[in-house]
């Protein structure tokens, strides 16, 4: 599978560097390595979800408990989590670090991903969620740290879009 193991490790290192100790996840192809690395790490509590919206509650609970967390999902999972983001994270000022694989954008071969790709960035903008694309390995760790810092200082959701250029090596 041409999912980049190297860049997955880099992203994981970025998360660990921020002190993330709880990771909620719902898999998709691009996230396989990240989830496996988290599973193998005794310092990380990996919570496999049935639906991404649960992750908003988990991260809120972790925040109340003083534990740093992140959410791992694909953009369709972000779509599935929107009410939780608005009605919990925004309403109650909960910091969320959301790592969202950006399917359905340039280079996408799976027809079923393409609608979600169209609306991902417009929705993030409409929801006033600060976001940035992770597209080059050189800036991955720094940008994760910056996103985490902003989420914690502003007490709001912040998104990092994991792009094809970073995640997929063909």
């Amino acid at each position: 599978m041409p999912v980049s193991l190297e860049n997955s490790k880099l992203i994981y290192r970025g998360l660990k560097g921020c002190g993330i100790r709880l990771l909620s996840a719902l898999p998709e192809t691009w996230l396989v390595h990240l989830i496996q690395i988290a599973e193998d790490d005794p310092e990380m509590r990996l919570v496999r979800l049935a639906k991404e919206e649960e992750g908003v509650g988990l991260s809120a609970g972790a925040h109340f408990a003083g534990v740093k967390s992140a959410m791992l999902m694909q953009n369709h999972g972000f779509l599935a989590a929107i009410n939780g983001i608005v009605s919990f994270a925004h309403l109650y000022k909960i910091p969320l670090l959301m790592l969202v694989s950006y399917r359905g954008s340039f280079g996408e071969r799976d027809p079923w991903q393409t609608q979600g790709g169209n609306v991902t960035e417009p929705l993030l903008r409409a929801m006033n969620i600060p976001y940035s694309c992770l597209d080059a390995s050189a800036s991955v760790e720094k940008r994760i740290a910056q996103a985490h810092t902003l989420a914690e200082s502003s007490l709001q959701p912040v998104a990092l879009l994991l792009t094809r250029d970073l995640m997929w090596g063909e």
Partner: protein, 193 residues
């Protein structure tokens, strides 16, 4: 049939040493009418996520007892939560579902539990290790007390009447509640240090 407010009154003092997360609307208004405490967090929207919030708390604070006060409508909106709870089986988690067979807080529309959906059965089939259904205040109080004072994940479905207070807005701000709750947890951590 029993009233939810009577159930809450029966276990009010047992909740003192727990972290409590509730759903929105009528239930938090009832609980606040008995007296707000800094260890109570009322999730006044985001239907379905009270139990997920409780799971986050339970996994991060294994020495605290977490009590989630859920509703049939809220749980039906996030049935997957039962499978996630059962998967991680936090031993410090008590899941109380007040099943009034109704979306009471928006005017009382019947939910699927009114036509036979069995939330205790769903919880059991999802893998929640201990489940029960109760219909009297005495049974509720002893089941809830037992669950709070023992170890292990439990779902208690309390069949209650679909009645509640007239108004749901209290003078406790959402953010005030949220920051107070987090600060309370921090003070517990400081004490145990």
């Amino acid at each position: 049939m029993m009233l939810r407010i009577d159930c809450l009154r029966a276990i009010y003092s047992d909740l003192e040493k727990c972290l409590v997360v509730t759903i929105m609307g009528a239930l938090p208004a009832e609980l606040q009418s008995l007296g707000h405490r800094p260890n109570f967090f009322y999730l006044q929207h985001a239907m379905g996520l009270a139990s997920s919030t409780g799971l986050g708390l339970a996994l991060c604070l294994p020495h605290q007892k977490i009590v989630v006060l859920d509703g049939d409508g809220s749980l039906l909106m996030n049935l997957g939560t039962l499978s996630t709870l059962a998967r991680y089986k936090p031993r410090n988690f008590v899941h109380i579902v007040f099943d009034n067979e109704s979306l009471l807080s928006v005017g009382g529309f019947p939910t699927a539990t009114s036509t036979g959906t069995d939330l205790e059965g769903i919880a059991r089939a999802a893998g929640i290790p201990q489940t029960c259904s109760v219909r009297t205040v005495d049974d509720f109080a002893s089941a809830a007390r037992r669950a709070i004072s023992s170890e292990g994940l439990q779902t208690i479905v309390a069949k209650v009447e679909a009645t509640g207070p007239k108004a749901f807005i209290t003078d406790l701000g959402l953010l005030e509640n949220r920051f107070q709750f987090r600060r309370h947890i921090q003070s517990l951590a400081a004490k145990s240090r």
